[in-house]
């Protein structure tokens, strides 16, 4: 008997889940549905353009489609084009692996001023996500609020010289935007003390390779905890590094209280330090990188709130969740792999326990999906992007949904 599984979202969580399911049960009918015409979620649109090695997992995911037989259904949004109920009706199991892409906000005055930006929006624009807003003008003084790996990614990209982006897949327009940016100073501010910062020490160490900057670290604390000590040692090692023109300042233990400026334009950010003193940082741009939350579309809070077993990823009979959608916006690619492998075993055990139930039709219930982007359609986009890459880039992403669809769908009709 072959059960049908729909996975909503083709990011790392969805792909690892399909991989694990099909490895254990090669006959399953598994479809990965994504609202974008292209797969791989944040591996394509979040992992930094200059961290191509990390994107190497895509080779595994390609095999999920090419050898393990999973289907890709791109350009279909669950909750809009197809309801979650209809999907559950048609598939024996539905797994929500839709990630969390809405930027969290600080909840302080002035967050809607011009000049205030959010990490998710900004990285999507940098990496040419089809739904991203245009890249903003940042001006000469940038403050990045947040101390996770995403904040460091943004810092590094803003701080790199054009030459240092060689080999990346940063597009022509974003590259040009960076070259013209005119940034003189970047301050990166953590609410917590340095010892409690969330970034990985390697992310800090990587900054010493940058030529165009000089770095100072202000107000780092001390700690005996071994993990904290690694971070503090990495910060100490970069303090005073470099004699490039752009100044990078790390600050810690500052609670943001207000953003302000005349005529709706940001001019300064105010913080309180641990002693209750006000610290004011003048800035032309303020970028928050403080985590992510659910987007409208799928009722995540409701589903997770009523979950039968949230830890195991069981929301309701036949309905599961994994990855960021299940856990919240924490954890890296390997965490999603472990999460997905556990859930795969759980789903297969549930199938065994319900062996008497008739099997469901799966994608045959959706004749409309003939017009969705299949894996071959995506491969045409992929091939075009790779073959159009300029000399010092490994890929030239197609940025607009229309252009993607034209390439993916038009030829599919011809070939049929």
């Amino acid at each position: 008997m072959s059960r049908a599984v729909a996975i909503v979202g083709s990011g790392p969580s969805g792909c690892y889940l399909a991989q694990a399911l099909l490895k254990a049960a090669p006959d399953l009918r598994v479809d990965l549905i994504d609202r974008l015409p292209v797969p791989y979620g944040l591996v394509r649109y979040g992992v930094a353009a200059d961290h191509q090695g990390t994107k190497g997992v895509i080779r595994q995911f390609e095999r999920v489609f090419e050898r393990q037989g999973a289907g890709f259904v791109g350009n279909v949004t669950i909750g809009e084009d197809v309801s979650l109920d209809a999907l559950r009706e048609a598939y024996d199991a539905v797994v929500l692996a839709a990630g969390l892409s809405a930027d969290r906000t600080l909840g302080i005055a002035g967050e809607d001023l011009q000049g205030v930006h959010r990490a998710g929006q900004l990285t999507r624009a940098l990496y040419e996500h089809p739904d991203a807003a245009p890249l903003p003008e940042l001006g000469s003084r940038v403050v990045i609020m947040g101390n996770g790996n995403v904040a460091i990614d943004i810092l590094r990209l803003l701080a790199k010289t054009p030459e240092e982006l060689a080999g990346s897949d940063l597009g022509a327009a974003p590259s040009d935007w960076l070259t013209r940016s005119g940034i003189e100073e970047i301050e990166i501010v953590g609410r917590s003390p340095a010892s409690a910062a969330k970034f990985d020490p390697v992310m800090i160490k990587e900054l010493v390779k940058l030529e165009g900057i000089n770095i100072r670290v202000l107000g780092a604390d001390r700690s005996d905890d071994p993990e904290a000590a690694k971070k503090l040692a990495a910060l100490e090692a970069i303090n005073g590094h470099g004699c490039g023109a752009r100044r990078i300042t790390f600050r810690f233990g500052l609670t943001p209280i207000e953003l302000s400026g005349p005529d709706d334009h940001l001019k300064e950010a105010r913080f309180l330090d641990g002693q209750g003193n006000t610290v004011i940082l003048p800035c032309s741009a303020f970028i928050t990188a403080i985590g992510f939350g659910a987007e409208v579309g799928l009722p995540r809070d409701l589903l997770i709130g009523e979950a039968v077993d949230r830890e195991a990823g069981v929301l309701a009979p036949g309905l599961y969740a994994t990855g960021w959608f299940r856990r919240g916006p924490q954890g890296t690619i390997p965490d999603n792999r472990a999460d997905a492998q556990r859930l795969a075993s759980h789903i297969l055990a549930d199938f065994e326990g319900a062996a008497a139930l008739p099997e469901k039709p799966g994608r045959q219930a959706f004749p409309d999906w003939a017009g969705a982007v299949g894996y071959h359609g995506w491969k045409r986009i992929d091939v075009a992007e790779i073959s159009n890459a300029p000399e010092n880039r490994c890929r030239a992403k197609i940025a607009s949904r229309d252009a993607m669809l034209a390439l993916a769908l038009q030829k599919e009709e011809v070939s049929q």
Binding site: Y16, Q19, H51, Q52, G53, T54, G56, V57, R59, Q60, R63, G167, D200, P201, V202, K205, E206, K230, I333, P334, R337, A338
Partner: protein
């Protein structure tokens, strides 16, 4: 040749490569492929070639699936005299100071307990232009040839 193919992985690349090497060698050899997390140091076998594929993670650390094995090796401290292994690393030169440290750590640990390394340890660079299998297949066939001589001598 009887080959035990073992992989240590964090994001699955080493597992995929191990499976590829298994398909490549299976025709001519008896091959078993296992995650290091499912392998215990007392399973080493002097009549077999142990071929290990291992990545690096974090700051040059062992990948998650190799860590319990390394701990067990340190605790049990078995005598691995007469055990032959070849080891191939997965890494990324972006992490220049710790490039290939995971596989290096594992090799040192095995040698410290008396095992013999067959052939060279090569590390694939995820930021380079070669596919891992294009580097690993020639390595694997060379290791097998070298091991055939050595394990033949012992047996």
């Amino acid at each position: 040749m009887n080959i035990m193919l073992l992989y240590g992985t964090e994001t699955g690349n080493a597992e995929m490569l191990a499976e590829d090497i298994m398909s490549e060698l299976e025709g001519d050899h008896e091959v078993e492929c296992r995650n290091l997390s499912d392998f215990s140091p007392d399973e080493f076998d002097a009549g077999r070639l142990h071929m290990i594929i291992c990545s690096s993670y974090g700051d040059g650390e062992l990948p998650a699936s190799a860590q319990p094995f390394a701990e067990a090796l340190k605790t049990a401290a078995p005598d691995l005299k007469g055990i032959h292994f070849g080891i191939f690393g997965l890494g990324d030169r972006e992490y220049e100071e710790t490039f290939g440290f995971g596989s290096g750590t594992l090799a040192e640990l095995l040698i410290a307990h008396g095992a013999v390394q067959v052939g060279e340890r090569i590390t694939h660079d995820a930021s380079g232009s070669d596919m891992a299998e294009d580097v690993a297949f020639p390595w694997a066939s060379q290791i097998v040839t070298l091991a055939e001589e050595k394990i033949g001598e012992v047996a």
